[in-house]
């Protein structure tokens, strides 16, 4: 059974703290993505990576960075958390040339910044 695992389901952090959200996939997928999900706004792409050590900005990269040191792991970093980054964060992966755009999602990490 394919799996995308996000390390933390719930986090509470204070403004200014550095936050790491970890994501691991076991499908040997080349592509990995970080989205944030807010009510009524759907899923908005923060960053994606199509190979180890490669990263591309999505639609809302400001305030975030990412790291892809290994193929199976894609980390989202908030250098200095702010209250407007309170959200649900979803990691996803996909393989190349599948003929589909199917993304496999993790269960999400709900971050609250106080």
């Amino acid at each position: 059974d394919v799996k995308v695992t996000q390390s933390s389901r719930y986090l509470v952090k204070r403004t200014g703290e550095k936050v790491f959200l970890e994501c691991v996939q076991d499908m040997d997928h080349e592509n990995m993505f970080w989205y944030r999900q807010d009510p009524g706004l759907g899923l908005r792409l923060i960053y994606f990576s199509y190979d180890v050590k490669m990263k591309e900005k999505g639609d809302i990269p400001e305030g975030y960075s990412v790291s892809r040191e290994k193929k199976e792991r894609f980390s989202l970093i908030l250098e200095s958390a702010s209250t407007n980054q309170t959200s649900m964060y979803l990691c996803a992966s996909s393989g190349p040339g599948q003929g589909t755009g199917e993304l496999f999602f993790g269960e999400g990490s709900r971050l609250t910044v106080l």
Partner: protein, 114 residues
């Protein structure tokens, strides 16, 4: 349908009835579309997809219709069951970008009344 701001459109149906969830997509160059289902506390899961060279595709109890003229996509669920209660997202993809990058709609909440 698509939502604006923080309000998530809700569709309420009686168990056993058919459900139709609508989505207006934005890019006439998009050539691939997916519907995802997100249950409470879980990540989105793939339901069905369709390419732009088709106008209808059927799965088990679900049908996706694509009208490229008006850039409209719909998901029909036959004989809706309580387990269908979830938020449904449409997503579009242009074939010319790397990593199967999808753009998601705001989502529609389906509530099934017993």
């Amino acid at each position: 349908g698509e939502s604006v701001g923080l309000h998530l459109p809700t569709l309420s149906v009686q168990e056993g009835d058919n459900s139709i969830i609508n989505c207006a997509y934005s890019n006439s160059a998009s050539d691939y579309f997916i519907w995802y289902k997100q249950e409470s506390g879980k990540g989105p899961q793939f339901i069905i997809d369709i390419r732009s060279n088709m106008d209808k595709r059927q799965g088990q109890r679900v049908t996706v219709l694509l009208n490229k003229t008006v850039k409209h996509l719909s998901l029909q669920i036959a004989a809706t069951q309580p387990g269908d209660s979830a938020v449904y997202f449409c997503a579009e993809n242009m074939n010319n970008n790397a990593g199967n990058m999808l753009t998601f709609g705001g989502g529609t909440r389906l509530m099934v009344k017993p």
